[in-house]
Assembly symmetry: C2
DNA sequence: TTGAAAGCGTTACCAG
DNA sequence: CTGGTAACGCTTTCAA
């Protein structure tokens, strides 16, 4: 910056002003500075700027994994909305729980982000303490917790599970099963299953029929294998609600392989409305979640908070939508 | 840090040492400091640390998009390997080209990352200048460019396109088409198509039969629609190589809808080996790309460079693999 | 409209 | 093994 200042014949603070508030500088001066910046290929050092201004223009996100079509679009939406406001995304994945969320939150906080986006459901007491102490805006996404830490945007996973189960009931199904859930630390998956169980009870459809095998890593394979186990144990099942569209794909393929007519004999529903679920692909009946919008909204909420807007909502329920296609 | 130092009765630099190189501090002193850190809930400020040490422990990645199963696993692998080395990932997406790569590189560089991972193929002259000027380790991923800027890890897209085309030829196909490619700025997709065209020529299979419609955003829908157009124009086509598995899914569905026997009458091959392509799902013949490994390797290469390892390879070809399943 | 000086919270460097 | 001092490259604050 000193070099630029010298070349333009001004002081460094003027260079700084040209870069951040060009309208505050006389056009003639501004041009001199701008051409010096260009000539020198100068790129300001945000690290120094952040230290000085106490603002990082960086927002951290802690996600379990990017694989499996679940969070990718949310991260996409978040990155996009931050970008529109001149902010950057710092991404941490807990992946295979090689690192705890607690750990990730600590390192994220050490970067002094202007905001934090969390996808996990429950936080340890230490994590909550660190968050409280940091005084950073926090947005929990992909579920509306009963007691949000700060802000939250998403939908009710319990309601979503309940809604799809009731939908299957409405279409005439009575022996409804749930497969593919319960992988380690999947808080939201458990909530969906809970919604399923609740609906069964409300409708008087008997006890849950549920298969899960956390050992199978591939969701598609899990769907195929769980379907087998399920039909062995409850051969009269007439509808299957799958924990995700990937699971549903595996179940659908396996059902066809075994000669079960879908949806006539067996209805199969998924969750997520992944790319492959649509009309031109599988034609899977599923629950659509506004993943991209969740991320984009989370970003906007942090930006509004930063601007000091007090009337901004703290909880945003973006809902979900049952999408009926051919499979159920 | 001053508070911690005062509480422990030492100087700030000793606190700093306890945090970064505990073994260099006498156990008794260390314990005093550690308990002060704990008591005060002190979280060091990496911003200040970075400014002082000229190291950010942050690596930036510029990706076109996270949607569509292509780069998500690579970003996952990168985040994971960085994490193992105590580094963080800074993510930028060019998404819908609302922001140019050039722009993203500039903002990434302004964070003074310890490394930069690029997924795009070609860079503007200004981008190259900024990169050169920054003197940061750069890894280009998902293709091995003829003239890499610095380091590269991936595979040859041209060879991959060529290999699948030759594979289809080996299985007896003679009228091979290519669909779904050419979305804006898709450098690597073009390279694959080029490999396809080269193979046709080598094998004497006539001119390329290729359909693309950049206006259709959904890849699955594009596959379905392009298949229609293709069969209208070249009804005798006996094999279709799709630009991605998503496109292949759309094509497969549409082919079945139209009553074409796959693979008997029409072979369909994809690219990417997405989750849904596998044995338990679609059973799609495709090209498997080691996406996660590409990301993980990129991270490792930057770490090695940082450590000053001079014997480290600059170009790593992770190859690809033709995976034969039922569709071709 | 521009500038000088004083930090921002750490780490590097050199002593002791 | 520990500490004092001077950066790191900006922005803030206050003056002119």
């Amino acid at each position: 910056m000193k070099d630029v200042a010298r070349m333009a014949g001004v002081s460094t603070i003027t260079v700084s002003r040209v870069l951040r508030m060009p309208e505050k500088v006389k056009p003639a001066t501004r041009e001199k500075v701008e051409s010096a910046v260009h000539a020198l290929g100068y790129v300001p050092d945000q690290i120094a700027g952040s230290l000085s201004s106490r603002k990082t223009r960086q927002v951290a996100a802690v996600v379990s994994t990017l694989a499996g079509s679940i969070f990718a679009s949310t991260v996409d939406g978040l990155a996009q909305s931050l970008r529109e406001h001149g902010h950057e995304l710092l991404l941490g994945t807990t992946e295979y729980s090689s690192t705890s969320e607690e750990n990730l939150i600590a390192t994220a906080l050490s970067r002094r982000p202007d905001g934090l986006v969390l996808t996990s459901g429950d936080h340890t007491p230490l994590a909550r303490r660190m968050l409280a102490h940091a005084g950073v805006p926090v947005v929990e996404v992909w579920d509306i917790p009963e007691a949000p830490f700060d802000m939250a945007v998403g939908f009710s996973n319990v309601e979503a599970g309940r809604a799809m189960t009731r939908f299957l009931h409405q279409t005439g199904r009575r022996r409804i099963a749930f497969i593919g859930g319960l992988h380690e630390g999947d808080h939201r998956g458990r909530l969906r299953r809970q919604g399923y169980a609740t609906a069964l009870q409300e409708l008087g459809l008997g006890p849950p029929r549920s298969i899960a095998d956390p050992m199978i890593v591939s969701m598609v394979e899990r769907g195929a294998r769980n379907l087998g186990e399920l039909l062995e144990r409850w051969p009269d099942t007439d509808a299957i609600f799958c924990a995700s569209d990937s699971v549903a794909l595996g179940a659908l393929s396996e059902a066809r392989r075994r000669g079960h007519a879908v949806p006539e004999a067996l209805a199969i529903a998924g969750f997520g409305d992944f790319e492959f679920a649509g009309e031109f692909g599988l034609g899977l009946t599923t629950v659509r979640i506004p993943g991209y919008a969740i991320g984009a909204t989370a970003g906007q909420m942090i930006m509004r908070r930063k601007r000091g807007e007090l009337d901004a909502p703290k909880i945003v329920d973006l809902g979900f939508e049952i999408v009926r296609r051919g499979s159920a």
